[in-house]
Symmetry: D2
């Protein structure tokens, strides 16, 4: 058994003089530092909970230590396979990290024999994410289930969910009911999988746009056994509001139809989270898909999938056919250990506390410019104001002016936009309904936004709106003068 503890290495079991220069009591304190660090990892693994936040140096030491377990870092390793995690670039050699990827051919969740350290890291990430979902978000249904972390975007992850459902269902079920939400990825994921897209129309109730549940029922009746599943959404741009997933999951349960929840950035919303628990408890939920970057503030490109049925979630991992890039998992490992469970709770809490100020600021701009806020209760992340006094062309100008003024993420939706996505035609695209009636602009109060950003957002938005009006006035004035001149000329 290859045992070797650091203490005996440094002090030398046989040769007392090994590091005679360094006093034993110095080393003793040093080594207690090292062992304290390792015990953090130990506790995570055995308690199945995240340790309290660690400082950067300690996290990097753990990461370095764990990746030193991967075969390509073995001082004596000889690689005789076609894939040995060799690097051509000296920069990448120095950067280190999870070179050997994660998973194994045929299951991205399997342990990789050549990369024991990477496997430990994967396990820690799954433990950490589950800990947060279960204990910070109170997803009790996870107690007997599990979570899968995938290095794929939300859209591709939805596709993998669809394909997994398809595999265990009858041959003929090829239709996917999709509660309309005007965002390309989800439509694409259905089309990419070769499924037939059935659009469930929305209703406009006051300002809010939401799924027409009666229409959904009717479609379920019409298409019967051909329906593989229904995709609902819980995080969306205003005026669309999160679907009433409790009611819908009950219906789907009664019809025995699959249910995938597109919960891209919903984990940060308590409202959505409590609906989630209700949907799972009272109805049918197969898969919930959430984005890693949008909820956990890591680089773009990862997703988590969970649900009440452990077997189904595990089945999904097997649908990623091969070994995946380790970056997403490495970044989550680092973030989970540095931020900790409490840290994420604080981040999300900060956002919740920021909402009133955000709405107030936004509302002031609206009022100041003769517009009003859209009333979209239920959506506590994205908010909108009307652009009723602006032409569609001016709406376009507003969008690009905001962008070039470094205000990113605002969304201007004029009326009457037509769009074809992969063959499906959409009226009023952007507003998730055929005819919303008025142009509008949305902005999100999402996790990570800072108070000073809210203030600056108000100022810049106001500035742009006023600038557009000023330009319009100027143009009008010019036009008037031109006409006056013409009239004079005619008069002459």
């Amino acid at each position: 058994m290859p045992k070797q503890d650091l203490y005996s290495v440094l002090v030398g079991s046989n040769d007392k003089s090994t590091v005679s220069e360094i006093p034993t009591n110095h080393l003793r304190v040093g080594l207690s530092s090292h062992s304290s660090l390792l015990s953090h990892l130990l506790r995570t693994l055995s308690n199945r909970t995240l340790p309290p936040p660690l400082p950067p140096t300690q996290i990097l030491t753990l990461l370095s230590l764990l990746t030193s377990l991967d075969t390509q870092n073995h001082p004596l390793n000889i690689g005789c396979g076609e894939r040995e995690a060799r690097l051509a670039s000296s920069i990448l050699k120095v950067r280190g990290g999870l070179i050997h990827g994660i998973g194994r051919s045929g299951d991205v969740n399997e342990m990789q024999p050549k990369a024991a350290g990477s496997s430990v890291i994967c396990v820690v990430v799954k433990i950490g994410v589950k800990d947060i979902l279960q204990n910070s978000l109170n997803f009790d249904f996870l107690k007997k289930s599990t979570v899968t972390v995938l290095p794929t975007c939300t859209g591709l992850t939805l596709l993998l969910c669809l394909l997994t459902l398809k595999k265990s269902s009858k041959k003929s079920s090829n239709k996917v009911l999709w509660c309309r939400i005007d965002q390309k990825s989800c439509v694409k994921s259905i089309q990419s999988g070769g499924f037939e897209l059935i659009i469930v129309p929305t209703l406009k109730i006051g300002d809010a746009v939401t799924t027409d549940i009666d229409a959904l029922k009717a479609l379920l009746d019409t298409h019967g056994d051909d329906v593989l599943c229904c995709i609902t959404t819980t995080s969306c741009f205003a005026p669309r509001i999160p679907d009433d997933i409790i009611s819908i999951s009950k219906i789907l349960k009664s019809k025995n139809v699959g249910h995938i929840i597109n919960n891209a950035y919903g984990l940060q919303s308590s409202h959505v989270n409590s609906m989630m628990v209700g949907a799972v408890n009272k109805g049918r939920v197969d898969y919930v898909v959430s984005s890693l970057d949008k909820n956990f503030c890591v680089p773009v490109g990862g997703a988590i999938v969970f649900g009440p049925d452990k077997t189904k979630v595990k089945e999904l991992g097997k649908m990623y056919p091969g070994r995946a890039n380790g970056r997403v998992v490495e970044d989550m490992f680092i973030s989970l250990l540095e931020v900790g469970r409490e840290g994420y709770e604080e981040l999300w809490e900060y956002r919740r506390n920021l909402i009133p100020k955000f709405i107030k600021t936004f509302e002031n701009v609206a009022t100041e410019n003769g517009e009003r806020m859209l009333k979209t209760e239920g959506n506590d992340i994205s908010f909108g104001m009307t652009l009723s006094n602006f032409t569609n062309e001016e709406c376009g100008d507003i969008g690009s002016m905001l962008f070039t003024r470094a205000l990113s993420g605002c969304r201007v939706v004029p009326t009457g936009v037509q769009k074809n996505i992969g063959g499906s035609e959409f009226e009023g695209f952007g507003s998730s309904t055929d005819d919303y009636g008025v142009g509008y602009l949305t902005a999100a109060c999402a996790v990570g936004m800072k108070e000073r950003e809210v203030e600056e957002f108000g100022k810049r938005l106001d500035g742009v709106l006023k600038e557009v009006v000023k330009k319009r006035e100027k143009k009008k004035k010019k036009e008037m003068e031109r006409k006056k001149k013409e009239m004079k000329e005619i008069a002459i």
Copy 2:
């Protein structure tokens, strides 16, 4: 137009005294250094070829400079969307890189408005890979076509190819002919997509195992219009040899059936490359899928797809529904700039020159232990030796002993292994044929292997084989003694 050149920043156009401490001639030389660096990038973009290898500091400066173009790094940026590339971890903030991911909802190849720098990096990577394929590997057919880089493993990439083919084909075509190669990922990718797997059997010709082309023809006739496509393979473990893709692509062309080539690590083989050109010129090839890590020595998890038809390759990018993690592209950017086209040519050349020594060393071990090399001409990456003198149990021991002795990547295949992959039954799994007749061991001479590794490989393999024999003898001797003792006892 936001123009700002470094020189005027440092010297100060208005205020001559800005950095009066620093002599102008020092700055002049310094700034010429900076502009030389930028011009490398310029040349890449305008000439559409890789620059000569750059030193690490320069690459990192370029990377840093380009990522500074992404909106989240804009000193004045205010994020009002649900995805603003915010990071919670200070470690990740310091690491930097492509945080905003690549692509746009619905097309991983689209330019990302929030990340102009990341977009430039993507473009450089595509230019670089195409330059190498076209000019180092002489894939002339790329002149009018393009290459797609995906942050997905080979298996998932094959799945996306299948789904793309499916989309443009008739409804009923749901069968995929798969030229048997005993490796899980490819089978899984067919099954994951919900396709029906039709196994094309192999023939054993001498020691070599290869696709039974007559059987393939028969299967095409039997399944007719139901066949979506055929997947061939050009990189595989011995005794399987690369498929005769020229003949197969001709047949597929005549039958108007799609053709995907699983060319995981084939780019490093001149033999495969020349077949590739032949297949494209004389027959039908829709997609070729190659692994990034296995050919370009980057971290695991990326793939490239190319083919003679630009439209089809572009169509594929649209099948990745959403924005992907940027790590794979970032690592390729770094490696391409550091290694350069010449560098990759040298790496592949080194491998080719190492083959004779590898075979000789391997053969010596075989002969020395009463075995022989498998004759598998056509496969110049993976090689095998018989294990005819070893029992299946001993074969198992050999495998695990090699692994614990830090010889990774060898593959021991005993006879008679049965395996079920996602519902499909395989006889003689591992050897790509139902009954290969003899156990064997394979090892690969793949890109990145060093001469001293070859020597050490020989020593360790020889050591392990001898140890197994010694153990056997010892056991036998013990058994003999036990029997002698028993006989004596009986005699008494």
Copy 3:
């Protein structure tokens, strides 16, 4: 003139199609990001003040960009000197930074022709430190003077100050009056320079230990023209309190004797800072030496020197004969830009606000254990409690127990310690006076300490003291029992 702006590089002045893939409006926003970043640097250089805190990515981009100006990073550079900043290690190549060092043979403050970028970084650091000293600490006397940053520890810096003073003074002046403060470095710096050490004794006033100013005057009279200068101290372990530098500097001015202030970690104390201004305005101060790490929370090993006379401070830089390692300056550059002036003010403010809690906690431990706090008004960084109930041996135990319990930085000073430093004999070493009368323990409330550390400090210290008493009781009991037993035996 080598002009090259990024925009024209990317868009291509001649060839409009250079990066046709990337929409111009994306690039425009990206490039405005880049130019905003550069303008931060510009403002620092032209306004001579630090910019507001920058996020890590932006700082690293600036650092990368500036080091790209150094000759060794010039893509076309050919090095024909004996020192060309070549690196043998690929790790160091990737790490980058200031390889060419700072300064020039003969003056560490001169601009280095081969490293224009490093020179800019040096200038920014000096601007930043001066900005903080002048505007946060109100050192108005710096308006017409300057600051020197040296990559040397406080002790070596004091030595350089002494040697600089010596150079401009009469031959015979070789004696240095040193206001006793029991810390090795300062004594060593005097001895290293070959100066004669004259110890100015201290007085014990109440608990506090401070320089005996009458004795100082007498020594000045005794040694007359032989005295080169006097070194006072403003940051010290309790019970030593900062010297009354205002009175002393007046005396030195009247006697025309040099004055160096050892202000190692005094910048964090408002009390010391206001004395500093007084001393400069009313008396003579040649050099003030402060530690970089102790005040600015950077890695150990740098110092700043300042004073009211620009010429003298500049003269000092010329005493570092050669080009110095750039790490200290690089780390300061990073810290200054990341923390900013406001950030440092907050750090120091936090410490000031923490003092009451620190004292309260410390006092509770003292009272609880039958001891008391030392009254050492004037020293608001280091505090002490008596150890009157503990033997010298027990004091030793307390020290090592605290250390092995990961409570670093406490200092236990028993009575009667004798020490010889480089030939000079000290009585009562540690307490800065020959006979302090009681053992004691000190702890510091220094910049960077956190509130939770204060609490934990109280708990651990209390625990250790109680453990020592318990051990003593146990030992006593054992002894008693032994004696009882003996008596019994005698009785028998």
Copy 4:
């Protein structure tokens, strides 16, 4: 005793299920990787020799592991001192490394109780440097002596050597004989220490300039007991050649005068190294000072000091009064482990083999331009060619043209330069002799130069010389025309 081995942490001594997900055989291989790595360190420490070169990841793991022993990285550490290695910048926290510096107040070579890991790193560096000097350069005299590594430039290190010698010598010895070599640092180091500079004149023998040994003897006689020591030089710009240190050290031994060898970049020269051994064996050598960056290709700013007398070398460490920045030691640690002893031998060997090509190239340029090489046998690093056909003004042009053409390190020395350094007047400064008679240009073939650099050096130098001549001709022609015109006008 705080023991904790990684294996038991991961597998869990009490709880077998700790990481049940990860197969034991994966972990076993992983942990054998980790222990192999540690044993490299062990061997260095116990064998007192460098291990063979390690790959970057392994070095960084070791570094990370060792720095985790420093108190500030202890997960439970509470800092109660005035210096606790706290960092304000998140970038620096992530970068890690030796934050606590090296050494202890009063001796830069002492072990630092708060930084056991940094201490181990210091020990490894000293072992490594000594191993190379003793075993690659055959400095046998080191067997019974030691080496000191200082984070100070060569000049400051020379100053510390002078001060150390001074300390152990008679009061009156304040004169330093300095064998003239026209480079500022050394002169400055003597002046900085307050020593009296006695210049030993040079002789011109053929083209070569070297110390006038008879003059040296005479000066020794003249100044007698006032002489503290003599500083010789072994690495210098042509036409100065290395001093005959064997003869000089014999003389100094006989006169009982100290001897410091300024061996800045001499370690790369076999010729100098063999003289070094001779000088130590046959005469007196107190200290040899060599630059770290110039010999070992690390960042600028460190030096090593060695000599045959262990006590003297140790004494020197005590002259650095305080704790020094750890960067120099960290960078050497990394470089020594990555390059290894063999690697440095190869680097130096490469240089030696490059010399003939360098000379040939240089000579060709000289001949081609009507000049000749200077014959300066004995100096195998720096070489020179005459600039006899160029005016002093043109010489200046040549220098700045080379610099702006990114040819760094060439040195153009016109005739008749006068220079005052810190009060000492020099005639013919640059050439190390009062009147060299001809202008010249030097270039060095120093460690790290590449073959392609030599070729490019030739081309650029030739280009510049020709350009200067062309400019001169042009100017002359213009002048002629002007004169002709004038004459014509007069004629009219």
